[in-house]
Subunit: 207 residues, 4 copies
DNA sequence: TATGAATGAGGCTTCATTCAT
DNA sequence: AATGAATGAAGCCTCATTCAT
C-alpha cells in the first residue's frame, strides 16, 4: 500500500471497492477480513477509516448515491427538450439497472440490520431525489413522478427476483413510449382525467 | 413436552411460527436457538422437522404461498362480475400488504443466501401464480397482468423502504380506479392503442 | 420388519450388518440413526438389542471373530499334510485380507474409544487364537508363529495405508515360498540357528 | 497474551503440542476447545494458524515426520560401517517405538476421517522415505527393505494392540541379529536363494 | 416389543473488534 | 499510520440416549 496522500480520494476508492464487494454477496455475507483483503489493507486499518462495519455501509451508500446523482444531473444538464431528456433518462436506466438493483438490495440489507425502519435515511434520500428529479426533468406532477418511480422500482425488483419473467428493457421501453406520447401533447392540454397514463401502459402493444 | 401426533400438522404450526419470526428480523438474523426457543422446542428437535436452516425457509415459503393462494382463490370463487372481483382483489391487497412485504424480503434473504439467482424458485412460483391469476380473474392480457404485478411489487417495496412517501392504500386505490374505468368499457371496445392504462395512472387525480 | 422369531439368528444378522457399516466408515463416524436405518429398525429398537453403541462394537467383534475362526478351522480340519495346510492358509489370507484390515481398524477404533489399552480384549483374543492356530497347523515354534503373525499384521496394515507400495499378494506368496522350503526339511533337522527364516525372506528373489 | 513474533516457530510449538494431545486421545476425540486450552490460545486463534481441524493433523504429521527424518539422518551421517549403522538404527527404533505407534494411529485416524484412501499422502511419504533410507543405509535391496519395513510396522502395530504378547525389544533385537549375520557376509557372496532372511527370523532362538 | 419425537451438550467454525507492537 | 495476532461469543448442526405412546 502506497502512502496515502489524498486521504479523501483514497477513501472514495475504498468505498468503490466496498460497493463492489457488498453488491456481490450482500452486506452480512461479507466479512471485515474479506474487505481488508480486497482493499489491500489490514483489518486494523479498516478501523482507521471506518468506525465499524455498519459505518462502511452507510458511507458507501452515501458516496454511491452522490456519484449516481452527479452522473444523472450531468446527463440532462444541457438538454432542453423534454423528449430528449426522456430518451436519455430511460437509456440511463437500462444501462444502470444493475446498480439500482444493488442499491435496492443494499438498502434492504441495511433495513434488516437495523430493524428500525425509521432510520432508513439512505434509501429515503435516494427516493426523494429521484422523484423530484423525474418531476423536474420530465415535467411530471409529483403524483405522476411517484407512480413512475414506484413502477420503476417494481421493474428493478422483479428483474432481480424473476429475471426470466420481467425483462427491464421491455418495461423501460414501454415507459418511454408512454411518456413520449404524453409529452407530445401540449402541457396545458394534457388530460386531467385518470384516463391516460396507466391506461396507456395497460393497453400497450406488448405481447 | 407432549409427544407430537400429527407430524405434518405440527410442522405447519412450526412454519407459521417461523414466518412470524423470520419476518420480524430477517432470515440471517434469526438463529436456530431463537427458533427453538420461540417454538418451544429444543435445537435438536428443529432438525427433526427440517433438514437445515435453509430448508425451514423453503418449506415456510412454500407453505405460506399455498395458504395465501388458497385464500385468494376462495375469495373470488363465486364472484362473477369482473368489477366485483377487482374490488375484492384490491381490498385483499390492502389487507395483506404486510405479508407481501414479508414474502418479498424473505425472497431477497433467500437470494442473498444462495447466490444462485437461477434457483430462486420460491418467488418465481409466487409471481407466475399471481400474474396468471390476475390475468384470469380480471380478464387482462398477459402483458397487462405483468405490468400490474410489477407495479404492485414496486408499491410493496416502496411502502417498505419509504413508507412516508409511498402509501400503499393510495396506489392500490389508484389501480382500482384505473382498472374499474377500463373494465366498464366493453371488452371488444377496449382501445388497443397505448393511450390507456399507464396513461390513466399518470394523469390520476392524486396530489 | 417381520416379527422376529429366532432371536439369536436375528441378532447375528444385525451384527453382520453392523460389521459392514462400521467397516466402511469407522466406528465413530457411524451414528445410531444410521445403524437403525441400515438394519431397518428404529433407534429405540437398537437399544433393545444392545446396551449402547460400544456394546454393538463389542458384540460385533466377538461374533465376527468366532465366525472367522470357525471358517479357518473348518478349512484345515481334514488336511494332513503341512504343505497343503500352508497352501490353504495362505490362500485364505489372500482372500480375506480385507476382513483382516477391517478387524484391525475396528480394534483400533475400539482402542481409541476406551483409552484403556488393557481392556482391549477383542484383538488380544484374536491374536492369541491365530498365533496358536498357526503354530499348531504349520508346526511352528511359538516364537516363529509370533513372528509370522507380526509380519502378517504388518502386511495387513501397510496394504491399507500404502496400497501402491505394499501388495499383500506378493508378501503372502513370499511367506508361502519361505515356509514351504522350510517345511520340506525334516522337522528334526530344521536348523536351530537364526540363519534361516527371516534370512530366506530377505534374500528372496523379489526386487 | 504476548504478541507472537515468529509465526512459524510458534506454529511448530503448537504442532508439537498437538502431537502430544492427538497421540493421547486420537484425532476425533480431541476437540478444538481442548486444543485451545492445552496450547493456551483461544479457539479463534487456533484458526489463525490452521485452516481447520484436519489441517492441524496434516501439518502436524508433516512436521513430525520431518523432525524424525532429520534426527534419523543425523544419527547415521558419519557412520561408515554398515554394522554400526544397523546398531544405531535398531536402537533408534527401540527408543522411538512410541512415536511410530502414534504416527501409525494418527495415519489411521486420518484415513478414517477422509475415506479416500488414495489421498493418504501422509503415511505414504513416511513409508517411502523409510524404505529408501533403510535400503541405502543398510545396503538392502528394495524388496528386502520393504519386507523389513513391513515387519517393523507389524511390530509397531502389535506392540500396541497386544503389548503383552509382542514386545518390540525382542523383535527389534531379532532383526538386529538377523541383519548383522547377513551383513557379515561379504556383499558379493550373499546368497541369492530364498534360504536366508525370513528363514533366519523364523528359526531364531526366541522362546 | 417397537417407535420416533425430544433432548441439550458439545462438535467445528466464523466473526467483528481490540490493541500491543 | 499500520499491522495482524488474539479474543470469545455465537453461529449451525450432530449425536447418543431416553421415554411416552
Amino acid at each position: 500500500m502506497p502512502k496515502v496522500v489524498d486521504h479523501d480520494k483514497f477513501r472514495e476508492e475504498l468505498l468503490e471497492n466496498c460497493f463492489k464487494i457488498f453488491s456481490q454477496k450482500g452486506y452480512s455475507k461479507v466479512s471485515i477480513r474479506e474487505i481488508a483483503k480486497e482493499t489491500g489493507l489490514s483489518t486494523g486499518s479498516i478501523y482507521h477509516y471506518f468506525k465499524n462495519k455498519e459505518d462502511i455501509l452507510e458511507q458507501m451508500f452515501s458516496y454511491i448515491r452522490k456519484k449516481n446523482f452527479g452522473k444523472y444531473q450531468e446527463l440532462i444538464r444541457d438538454v432542453d427538450s423534454i423528449e430528449d431528456r426522456l430518451k436519455i433518462i430511460t437509456e440511463f436506466w437500462k444501462e444502470h439497472i444493475d446498480d439500482y438493483q444493488d442499491l435496492m438490495l443494499l438498502s434492504i440489507d441495511y433495513l434488516r440490520n437495523n430493524n428500525s425502519i425509521k432510520e432508513n435515511k439512505m434509501f429515503h434520500d435516494f427516493s426523494v431525489f429521484y422523484i423530484t428529479a423525474l418531476s423536474d426533468s420530465l415535467e411530471l406532477r409529483t403524483g405522476e413522478a411517484e407512480i413512475l418511480f414506484t413502477y420503476l422500482m417494481g421493474v428493478v425488483m422483479n428483474s432481480l427476483l424473476i429475471p426470466d419473467v420481467v425483462k427491464p428493457e421491455n418495461h423501460i421501453s414501454l415507459i418511454y413510449e408512454t411518456l413520449k406520447t404524453r409529452t407530445e401533447t401540449d402541457g396545458d392540454k394534457r388530460p386531467e382525467s385518470i384516463d391516460t397514463l396507466v391506461n396507456r401502459l395497460f393497453t400497450s402493444k406488448r405481447r
